[in-house]
Subunit: 437 residues, 4 copies
């Protein structure tokens, strides 16, 4: 008997359903663009927000709000098992094919790393069995390199190399478990890799350490034969004033600097995108253009709030442009849609957790179906090709082939070139998107 | 007789001066850190804000506000000469060693590029003489690739290759003039290189065109033997929704992608930095860490406004951290401090222009003097070295030399490593800065 | 023959229409909640963005971009007539029942106010006939108190009382014309009522002048027997650093201060709401709660840009909460939905203007239909009533009736009251909204 | 022996001091504008940030970071006494004349309100003695109506009237203690008075409850004869999506609505000002213009971060305009400068707490001294008077006396009034400020 064992499974009941515990759009078996919706979306629930957060915030002064059986259990390992039972019942209730975790989410930290590793081993052994029994797969694992006080000044970018070593040891263990659990990806989330003030920071040295750390993870991946994808999750700020993985373009430059651009991709979070001053579709489009697109942390921010609110997506229209970019780029390979989303603090009941995920997944599914139809219509694609048609002309080809300033200047002067502007048709294209929304 | 020929030169009169047309901190001959203040700051005035802007904004519906003799002159070339006379009197009045311009600032556009080039030639011939006579040097030149309607959809990133060709031809001419005027740098300012909507944009193709364009400028620079530095000026947005040169880290990745990271540096503008979600010192520190630091566009934004307000710097304390980074990195080589700043719209008198620059330059000078003293005290430097001292230990060196996850994990487990946090001392360091402010 | 006389009228063709010049959702005659969609939405086009803007921006240096016949006409009054013809053909093409204007939009300013008034008279006489012939009504008129240089420091809040007088004279004329044209409302838009720097501003005195100005408009309204509503349009910033009509709550305090809260309501613009740090639905809900709701300027901002982008609404899901508030409050009385929206700068063709409005009106119509169904379902309303049910209990009533601290303290202590939190069910409610989206 | 009993008192040692535990600007006995600096600034330390915060943030998952003896003490009342001892040693070490607290900061919550009150009584009895012995006064007290889960949906604006009653009972007790401790003010801080989503919120009803609550506090104040000032602390957002006390102008309208504008003033926090989209000086100037200025929570935000960072002030130049407004308005009466500021999370040592306050107070003192000199110079004041001189002319006076639209229109038309713009001289005024910085 877990917190979620009594919930009846959430099933697809179609757009007219008024049952709050049913899917209206997410029909996992529906085929579109040659695959099922489940295969396209590869949805996952995350452990941390749903099972580890007590509902505390900076004004709660640590007073826990949510009541979950495992929060009241004094024996930490017993609590971890209660939590695991609930989590897998929850995944099953929602019919989710994937889950994600940090090491410290699933098992309590011990007095030493050795003990922490042993505790993790115990819990993940059970998790492995549950994954097999329930048919739930691991989208990605990751190490929590930010909650313990030792990481207050960063993990691989810490001024103390012992912390770097500790972080390396921790990542090794989780990476190996991710491999053993057949995880599709392994995520490096910056956590506290950044700075609070430049006054005490040697940015160049910290970047070099971060680059070396990442390289050593790549080396270890190959050493152990892990076939999943390594992902960096960009975020511009919070908890630090500045995070080194600010956005996708920054991560690209970082990977190039350390020669890792073929080894690592990005896990784009919607709310991180908007906090960095970009639209979600911008981050996806940039990742696709630079060859870095990996996976998505599905959530939404609040347009009026300047921190990571991690809310469930609830506006399918807003997601169509980003999903269209994903489709154009060929969809996910190892990546998927992880709900890095949490219920609002006042949503204290277990059922709120379920309904939050139901609404979020329905929003993703609906948006994907719209984007797929839009894609199939070719309406936007054709308009775009036409707009750039000149680049397939002789002039365009000669420029792409390397025509220099002298050549082009002579051309302009000789022919008196005076190109006229052509409408960008933005409103028409936006209306076309709405035809499919 | 020009608008500024009657102004008495602005001279250094010391901190107690109450004359609004005197410098209180900018003593160009004062020596500090082995050079004069003028040699350190290399201050410049820009042509566009001071001599070309009519005071119009989006609510003036084009109604000009400022009254300058050249705005009333119907003959465009005559107006350009009136403007040039006033500009050089203005530079002299302020005692500025440098100026900056766009092609279309100094000479009116003609009916064809040929005519535009000829007009530019005429005016810049005169400018060359004035530069020689007045001892004013060119910090940088640049081409206006954004005002003419042909550039509404970008210059090198335009969907029409003819616009690319036109831009190339225009840059060739200004680059060659910059060379002839012995400019210290040539700036590529993104202007409209970016997008309004992803719905009609092929980002990858546009980036490739932009990369090719930049490479062709590099090639031409070497071909003509221009010894100055090529600079890109990052800006995140405005006029476009997204500018490809979002910030320094983005420019770094872009340069790496097209193999140009040894050829091009950045011209960092304060207000562009803050619009991109960074502090000014962050952008400078990033450029220094990545080897891209070139020059500075000195101004300030308004913390409550979301667009580029281009105000004169007026808070020397706020500038100390950035100038400290500049000093640490060895100061300017070819770069300098260009006032990309304009008086407020209601500051309609010619004297306002002078006073704006006086206040701005005094602020820079005062900040630099504070930063230099702070640097000489070594107080911050020592604290930083101490903070990272562990990286000079055996462990630190072994990590930097490539220790992998297995090695480090074994070390942590065997020794039961448990590093303890050390205070980052941010408040102490901030107080130290204030000792020199 | 005007720019729009050849366009075939845009008609409702249903959701499956692929004709870019048809409505898919806006069926003006469709009845819902007891009225037609046209009666609910009361849509209007504005003169300024569609017929006066040349496509210039701060980087175009005044170079006009859009080609419209009246921009090329040297005779200003002839140009005004060409523009008027085009405008009314445009309104008719779109089937819009309302329009809005500033005085300077429709007729060119003259050398004196007398001449300006005469020019306005001439054009508005023609406009009156066109309104009658085409069955187009005036949603509101307003005076442009911001473009002429005299208003650079504000109109009623100008440091020069002559400017106040000028503004008063101008408003008198437009208010009287609005009355004569049977306008449903008269709008006071802050324009430059605000400040650039507190260093030269006497805020208290400026507020008093603004209060007096508004009172005199109220007095004049009653004097001439104008039966329409006076509206203030809140905006937080731009063109000034701070606008006195920051948001609805600020306007409320201002109206209370000058005893005008029963005389004036607000015209809420979506993009102004978001620039002030609020959601659009927040501003509508606040206006309804404070009894100030008047009218809406329909547009959208860009979440990543910090200025007023005035784009057409294109996400119906995002608008449902605000429209639900409008419905709950009983809908519009004199107000309506004015498209204070402009095509993007690259949308240079006349057809882009039409398509922008088509998409915008379809978005509003679709959102309204969703909100109406949601309202009729009572699903949200019931949940809310239930949440506050305690306030209809004895304790709730006694508090609302004035129970003081002593009474309540005694109650809590005596009974050991210890109220438990109840879920706020935010995710469920968001999912309910999506059932109707 | 407390955490701070070994620290030597921080004393004024002048600008050249390099002792990190000395004041360089804050000489409490220095006289300026007729009073001592201590009398002007009335500085206070707050209990919550300095003694209650464990250094946890949203990524620490509750893991405490700071090591303070009272955090390790299992007996809650014993811990409260350890904390109290340390706090008063801290106040004395810094030479601060004032302190501030929430009820739950000083004493632990009990199982019932009765027990909580008793615990508070015990600790505050001791505090009263310490205040007397050390000569430390209470700037203000307040009730924590946000940490306990019962307040998750607000206190007086909670959907459950029992929570309202509980909050009333809690405020009664703290208000009475504030009275007994001779507090200069009592603060009502919004805490969770606001909403997370409008979908479940009855804004009008919540505002009415909040108004009634505030009125009952006013009534109780008079009933018990408390002579201090009631203060509301505006904040726009965080922890809720929207706080009802958004900014000073909003609070003004709220107070007018419930007839409390003569009973309540505002406590302006710097970081709350900037989060609401205003400058700090704007909030102070607004409060002064509307007659609401009460007290200040001195801190600073981070310009790049969208949440309340509560850092210590460290830029005196930035504070001059706000302090000038305070001086113009006659300075504080009951209010003062409370450091609602906390050390950065990595500043884990007790000494960091001291140095943070030293730097903050020095910054305030230096800014005040600059503002006082600027004020005495009358330079800005004279410029402002001159700018508005027209309003003391006949026309200005007639307008202020009520001239209507007809009168003013006739005047403009008859005389052909055509007022010309005058420079606002912003740059000159900014330079004047810097003369005193």
């Amino acid at each position: 008997m877990s917190l979620f064992s009594e919930f009846t499974p959430v099933r697809y009941q179609g757009p007219d359903s008024t049952d709050p515990l049913s899917y209206r759009w997410y029909d996992p078996t529906r085929r579109v663009l040659g695959k099922t919706l489940e295969e396209h979306l590869r949805p996952a629930a995350c452990y941390w927000h749903s099972f580890c957060w007590h509902g505390e915030d900076v004004f709660s002064l640590g007073a826990p709000l949510f009541q979950r059986p495992w929060f009241d259990e004094a024996d930490a390992m017993k609590a971890a098992r209660l939590k695991l039972d609930a989590a897998f019942d929850f995944f099953q209730c929602l019919g989710l094919p994937f889950w994600c975790f940090h090491d410290r989410d699933v098992a309590p930290e011990g007095a030493t790393l050795r003990e922490s590793n042993q505790r993790l081993d115990v819990i993940l052994e059970t998790a492995a069995r549950k994954m097999h029994d329930r048919g739930v797969k691991l989208l990605w694992g990751t190490a929590n390199l930010f909650s313990n006080p030792r990481f207050m000044g960063g993990a691989s970018t810490n001024p103390d190399p012992q912390v770097y070593a500790y972080a390396a040891a921790q990542v090794k263990h989780v990476l190996e478990w991710t491999h053993r659990l057949n995880g599709a990806n392994y995520v490096l989330w910056g956590g506290r890799e950044g700075y609070e003030t430049l006054l005490n920071t040697d940015m160049r040295r910290e970047l070099d350490h971060y680059g070396r750390f990442l390289a050593s993870v790549v080396e270890h991946k190959h050493k152990i034969g892990f076939g999943g994808t390594l992902l960096i999750e960009p975020k511009p700020k919070e908890p630090t004033k500045h995070q080194y993985d600010f956005d996708t373009a920054t991560v690209y430059g970082f990977l190039r600097r350390y020669g890792l651009e073929r080894e690592v991709k990005v896990n784009i979070e919607v709310n991180h995108a908007t906090l960095s001053g970009h639209s979600f579709e911008h981050e996806v489009a940039t990742a696709c253009a630079l060859g870095l697109f990996g996976s998505i942390d599905a959530n939404r921010g609040d347009e009026q709030l300047g921190w990571d609110t991690d809310q469930f997506p609830n506006n399918h229209v807003a997601l169509i442009p980003a999903l269209l970019e994903v489709i154009r780029a060929g969809g996910f390979t190892s990546g998927g849609m992880n709900f890095d989303a949490k219920v609002r603090r006042q949503s204290i009941d277990a059922q709120d957790l379920v309904e939050g995920h139901v609404g979020g997944l329905d929003t993703l599914a609906r948006a994907f179906l719209c984007a797929a139809q839009l894609y199939e219509s070719k309406a936007l694609c054709d308009a775009r090709s036409q707009r750039y048609a000149g680049w397939d002309s002789e002039l365009g080809r000669s420029i792409e082939a390397g025509a220099g300033l002298d050549t082009l200047s002579e051309l302009v002067l000789r022919h008196g070139l005076d190109p006229k502007p052509q409408s960008g048709r933005q409103e028409r294209l936006e209306n076309i998107v709405n035809r499919f929304a």
